[in-house]
Symmetry: C2
């Protein structure tokens, strides 16, 4: 390493935009573009315009980046689920609340959720992320079962398949939603919730 | 190559289970598991238990495998769209027909559609697949616009977003549907169609 690189590192270290959050966001984006396995710390340092040791100032390893990044997504989803479960009323209302809140989590933590959805469980960190994701899916399926018991779901909807379709629709945001696309997140959350629960068709009581 | 390998190749070449279709299905599965870039013809030959030259009996290159495999998915989707467009009646009925038929295409051509949805357009073959996929999405968005003009869609549904959500739900099958899971495809197609158009909620006219 030349002295100019060290000087650059020293100058950049404390700068805004290179705190842990921006390192995590850049890491998640790069993992999504090139795959987690194929991305090295060197490439991440180049993307951020800092040295590898500046990254190691924040995290111990690439695995820790993956853990923290997937936890950003999972923590957001579980906070939404906790809020939903704390609400009074019918299960279908908790589900509708969770659907809207999940759209917000996806829109606001897009690279982290995109990364989470691609994790397949090949390492300890990935297995843990997959397990937490399954626990979230289980909470959703439980709410759907409860809503079915309360007579609020169409009787032909199998709760497990209903949960898959509901979150299949929500998670599709990672494929097409762009934060800079000018779409209002509140309006999008309402649209997703209404499409999932009331369908695309204009019904007689709309 | 030893003579035993040649003998094996000769013996296997004409066998059932190693025709073009089974080579394509194995290739799509392997590309999905390991990524297209990371998968070599050698690994594919090992998976099939045949030699590389037995694969080159069917196709000229890995790129041709990708082209044929993604075309299996795209051809199925365009056949479904052509059938839908040839139908009389309202646009929403054509859309509902297309939704059901697309579920059948996904369930029956699962590894091919999974592969198609992961293609990002890095090579000529990939760009062509991405373009055909966009053309399909465009057909769906047109049908949704037409259905909105005919007054059959909820007025808050933006046609482009509605198309994304509809196929976000349909395409989520590649994440969770398993052909050996014992789920009836006809029933699943009806469930997806009803969920997308009428929602999960039991409405007053159900």
């Amino acid at each position: 390493m030349s002295s100019s690189v060290s000087a650059r590192q020293g100058a950049r270290r404390g700068r805004p935009g290179h705190d842990l959050e921006s390192v995590l966001a850049a890491a998640a984006q790069l993992f999504n573009e090139r795959g987690y396995e194929a991305t090295g710390m060197e490439a991440l340092a180049r993307r951020l315009g800092i040295t590898k040791s500046a990254i190691y100032h924040h995290v111990e390893s690439k695995e820790e980046l993956l853990k923290l990044a997937t936890d950003r997504a999972l923590d957001g989803l579980f906070e939404a689920a906790d809020e939903a479960r704390a609400r009074d009323g019918r299960a279908i209302e908790r589900l509708e609340f969770l659907t809207e809140r999940s759209v917000h989590v996806l829109a606001e933590r897009l690279p982290f959720v995109t990364l989470l959805l691609r994790v397949r469980g090949n390492t300890e960190v990935e297995r843990r992320a997959v397990e937490r994701r399954r626990a979230f899916d289980h909470l959703v399926a439980e709410m759907i079962e409860r809503a079915a018991e309360e007579g609020d779901l169409r009787p032909d909807v199998d709760p497990a398949v209903g949960a898959r379709l509901l979150f299949g629709m929500v998670n599709s945001l990672t494929e097409w939603y762009r934060p800079d696309g000018g779409m209002d997140v509140d309006a999008l959350a309402v649209l997703v919730r209404r499409t999932a629960f009331d369908g695309l068709r204009l019904s007689r009581d709309d």
